[in-house]
């Protein structure tokens, strides 16, 4: 390979955003052990998110939530052949450097962990590893892309098993994109100012009629029907956090959510996939959570 090494370009935008394209139509599952990672891979996950605690436990136990132990991340990398993602705290670029050196395939700069910087997200451009970031609306999505995120997900409200916030965020993004249709150049600049987004990225979004990068749904998805709902609302794929391994029968539920994400527009197949899965995770009413404990408000 030495004769071509000079012409091989690594860590380019095409390569970073390209991996997200390959994950489309798939399910990315939170796992806390190598065994769970293997169950997820067996069930058809396109990638796993290596974590010490799933969001439901972070929520319950409190304290500062940080990047996972590198030993755990490496153990999960060794256990599966599908891509492995891991989370770092918002703004904590050193955690990101460490995760990159471990060889993770994607970094989630995540509001599920306790933020390390209350003003700035990580400048993600210098990294060779791609990043995914959460958003609640179009402005937030485009700010993250401006910082170098090669993939976007809704924030939803992680660890609740309640899909309502993910629906709110997905509708906010797609509604804002729809309203760009037919808008004039001078109006586009003012809209960019209003939503706090770079005008060039907003212009590209208007031209494409969708975000310039892949957009997954995350935060509260617990059933095959939840996954299909988000797909029908126009997302490109699904993150499931606590929803699988906090359920009664994780393997069966994981397989069913994978099937539901592929056949999201076939109610007959969804009905079959949803049959006899045992109990879903218990779940939380968003209104019952104290405001300061909501995760989606983290990030700016």
């Amino acid at each position: 390979m030495t004769d071509t090494a000079a012409t091989e370009r690594r860590g380019t935008w095409k390569v970073k955003a390209g991996l997200a394209e390959m994950l489309k139509g798939g399910v990315i599952m939170d796992v806390v052990t190598p065994d769970q990672a293997r169950i997820a891979e067996d069930a058809g996950a396109v990638a796993v998110m290596a974590l010490e605690r799933v969001p439901a436990d972070i929520r319950k136990e409190g304290g500062v939530a940080r990047m996972s132990d590198p030993g755990l991340v490496s153990g999960i990398i060794d256990a599966v052949t599908i891509p492995v993602m891991a989370k770092c705290r918002i703004g904590h670029f050193v955690e990101a450097q460490i995760l990159e050196s471990l060889g993770v395939d994607y970094i989630d700069e995540s509001e599920v962990l306790t933020p390390a910087d209350e003003e700035h997200h990580i400048n993600k451009h210098p990294f060779k590893v791609p990043f995914v970031c959460g958003c609640r609306d179009l402005g937030e999505a485009l700010r993250r892309i401006a910082e170098g995120a090669a993939m976007i997900r809704t924030k939803g409200e992680a660890g609740t098993g309640n899909v309502v916030e993910a629906v709110r965020h997905m509708r906010a993004v797609s509604g804002a994109i729809r309203r760009l249709h037919g808008i004039g150049p001078e109006e586009l600049v003012m809209e960019a100012k209003r939503i706090g987004a770079p005008a060039d990225l907003l212009e590209e979004t208007a031209r494409l009629g969708r975000l310039p990068v892949v957009n997954f749904a995350a935060g509260g998805i617990a059933t095959p029907a939840d996954a299909a709902l988000m797909m029908q609302l126009g997302c490109d794929g699904i993150f499931v956090g606590s929803g699988i391994f906090k359920a009664e029968n994780p393997s069966a539920r994981a397989k069913a959510i994978v099937a539901a994400t592929t056949y999201f527009d076939r109610p007959d197949i969804l009905a079959d996939a949803s049959r006899s899965l045992g109990e879903a995770m218990r779940g939380l009413e968003i209104g019952a959570i104290p405001k300061e404990e909501l995760l989606a408000g983290r990030g700016w």
Binding site: M22, K24, G25, E41, G44, V104, Y106
Partner: protein
């Protein structure tokens, strides 16, 4: 009779099938997403896209698996990119025993053989058959470790085969669909079809 196929399928279980459908549109051919065996009947050729091969194999219903094998061996043109190449192999070296590829070509592949995502890369690949070099995006790409005598190497990177053909079946380790180079799609569209 036009050598061009009129309707071309793209396996749409998971992965970047949207980009392949767009590439077909750019070639002025109707692209059809294929998830079920019944949907394969309506197409004259098939593209196996990039994505996660373990996921696609897990999701493929047995009837679709059987129909693809039968029609490909009868001469249906097939293009596989990255994960699609893995699906076309006769053997996956680090594959799972419970997940068999479609065995459409006499090639053995190793998954993720170029390394993890930080090792993914863009390169320029020379393709004499298509009239010269073109852009190629390798994302956690597979490597072809051995291939049979009836398999023709269409392009190499370094000294490694990255594009191969056997009959009407073409397997690429990279993703032309992520670039604006439509020559691979046009090439596969120009292949003779099966006798139906």
């Amino acid at each position: 009779m036009s050598p061009k196929r009129r309707r071309f399928g793209v396996l749409a279980l998971q992965g970047d099938f949207r980009e392949h459908l767009a590439a077909l549109r750019a070639c002025e051919v109707e692209g059809v997403p294929v998830r079920l065996a019944s949907e394969l009947e309506a197409v004259d050729g098939l593209i196996l896209p990039g994505g996660e091969s373990t996921t696609m194999i897990r999701l493929m219903e047995p009837a679709l698996d059987a129909a693809i094998r039968r029609r490909a061996h009868a001469g249906m043109p097939v293009l596989g990119t990255c994960a699609g190449m893995i699906l076309m192999a006769s053997l996956v070296e680090d594959g799972r025993p419970d997940q068999q590829p479609l065995d459409l070509m006499d090639i053995t592949v190793r998954r993720n053989a170029y390394g993890r995502q930080v090792d993914s890369f863009e390169a320029t690949v020379d393709v004499p058959l298509l009239g010269g070099p073109g852009p190629a995006v390798f994302i956690r790409a597979p490597r072809v470790t051995t291939h049979g005598d009836s398999v023709e190497v269409l392009a190499e990177l370094g000294s490694e085969p990255v594009a191969l053909r056997q009959g009407n079946r073409v397997a690429l380790a990279f993703h032309p669909e992520l670039t604006s180079d439509r020559r691979w799609h046009q090439y596969v569209l120009s292949l003779d079809g099966e006798k139906r």
